[in-house]
Each structure stands twice: as C-alpha cells, then as structure tokens.
Subunit: 174 residues, 2 copies
C-alpha cells in the first residue's frame, strides 16, 4: 500500500475480528516494521513478543479484555528497556512509540486492523501480569498490547482538527 494511503487509512479498531488466521509471514513483516523504526542513539530499546498460541491468547484476554482482545488472532506485546541513551535522558517512550506507529501502518497495509492499548495496562498491575505470563524479565516494561485481526466492521480514522489549527508557517498561530 502507498505510504500516504496507509497513513490516512490507519485507525483504531476496538470491535470483533473475523475468524481468519494471520500467517507467521505477515506477523514477521509487521514486527519487522517495528524493528526498522528509529530509536534515540540507535539504542533499539524496543522488543516484541508475538502471541499467536490460542492458549496464551486466552490467558492474555483474562488480563486485558474487550472485543478486539477477545477475538484477536494474534497480539503483539511491546516491551521497552528504559535505559539512559544520551546524558541522563531516556528515549525509551519515544522509541517504542515510533515502533508502534510503524506497526500500525504495516497492519493497515496488509489488510488487518488493531488498536494501541497502552494506558489501560498501566492500571491494576496488568502490565506486570502480562510480564509474568510471558516470562518477561524485570528490567523490561510491558508498554503496549496490539490485538490484530481482520476487522468484522469497516471503521475509519477519527476526525482530526483541520491543518490550520495544528500547524503554522514561521511562528505559532501565524
């Protein structure tokens, strides 16, 4: 899919997925897009666990609920390693966010849909429960889960403010 088309078509999908499997090849292509994202000082602080085993999907769904999680054929769990990369600064959040955005676009381009689940897993120790389920070591943080599948219902990107309320030339609100 052409880049600007993928950017325009990308949207959050919280509904049910069709009962159609996702090939390992597609999952690898999607995650490779995340690997290819930039990271501060090329520190590559983001890593990924791809869950497509039905038993583990069921256990994940006990921790994070919703129609998308309930019916996803695969879930990508995004791990972040919050090191200091430049002076005392960590870019781990920036790194995983750029990686997730690449993954969202890759998911879109291959005809699937997903939703960036993030804030929800920072509550009720959900991230910690996912880490225990997947044997994630203590020095990594489970930051995002991305349930993936073929959407049952067609959705569109949420409306954005118009260009002239988000961007200006040569000065703020000019």
């Amino acid at each position: 899919m052409e880049l600007f088309n993928a950017i325009a078509k990308r949207h959050s999908y919280r509904g049910s997925f069709k009962d159609i499997a996702i090939t390992k090849q597609d999952l690898q292509k999607i995650v490779q897009a995340g690997i290819d994202a930039p990271s501060g000082c090329n520190a590559q602080t983001t890593s990924f666990i791809i869950v497509d085993d039905e038993k583990i999907l069921d256990k994940l769904n006990e921790i994070v609920s919703g129609k998308a999680m309930n019916t996803a054929k695969a879930v990508i769990v995004v791990l972040s390693y919050p090191i200091e990369a430049y002076y005392d600064m960590s870019f781990a959040k920036e790194d995983y966010s750029a990686a997730v955005e690449n993954i969202l676009l890759a998911v879109t381009a291959l005809g699937y849909a997903t939703v960036w689940i993030d804030g929800q897993i920072r509550r009720e120790e959900k991230a910690e429960k996912i880490a225990r389920l997947l044997d994630v070591p203590n020095n990594l943080i489970v930051r995002v889960v991305l349930p993936i599948g073929v959407p049952k219902v067609k959705k569109e990107q949420k409306a954005k403010l118009p260009f002239n309320e988000r961007a200006w030339f040569n000065g703020y609100k000019k």
Copy 2:
C-alpha cells in the same frame, strides 16, 4: 512510495542538503502525515511550526547547529501539550513520537531526508530559546526539530539487530 519501502529507506541524515527549495505543498503533505498520526484518547496534543523563512532559519541555526540545520530548506518544529488524557496519565510523548515517525516516512517518500533532533534541544535551554523565537506559549513544549532538504550524500538506515534478537513468538526469548 510503498509503505514497507519507505520504512526500510527511512534514515537519519545529519549531512548537508542540496540548494533545492521545498514546495509549500510538499511541506503541507509532510505535516499532514503528522496530523494524521494517532494520539491517546484522540487528544491531538502535537502541533507543528514549519519554518521556511530564511531569516528565521538563520536564527534557528544559531540555536541548533550542525550541517543539516545549517543547510535545511525547511525545519519542522514539533510542539507538545502535556495534558493528562486518561486518569492521571499523559500520552504526549507517545503522541508526538508517532507523529514524528509519520513525518519521517513522509519525508522519505517525497525524496527528502531529515533527522529527529530531540535530546540535544533539551540541553542549554535550546527548546526555550526556540519557543521564544517562534512565539510558542508557555503551556507547550518544543520537543523536536526536523531539518529537511534534498540530501547531498546518499545514506542508509543504521543496521538493526536481527529479528530473533528483538522479537519472539509466545514468550520472552522463546
């Protein structure tokens, strides 16, 4: 440009740019890609100032130096509004990072190059100086500057660790 091609070709460019102007239309298309990025709870916390006025580019270059800043035909300044979007959580960093990634891909697809300058402007009050130059109000943070142009020298994406050192199926390092 096809999405996966853009993802693979995207790279940081710190060298000099050719003396070729960038059209307003291209700059708008590039920034629209940033506007179209997702944001936590669709709060749209990221905004953009596109500097293409030579006098203001010269002043920006006095604050942030380097070959790319010195010869850029335009610089996109990324502003972040760090509100709490969900319970007491802010996703402002995630929001601007996803927007910047879309912009990097758009820049690549249109035949330009850029570099994500971030940590550097958090030092020596550079972000604050840029804010004063561009009349950015105090409730917004200048987070990133992106010098854009046609690269003089062909560069490639930095090598990434292989797939099996960044991603695993159904459990950590499995």
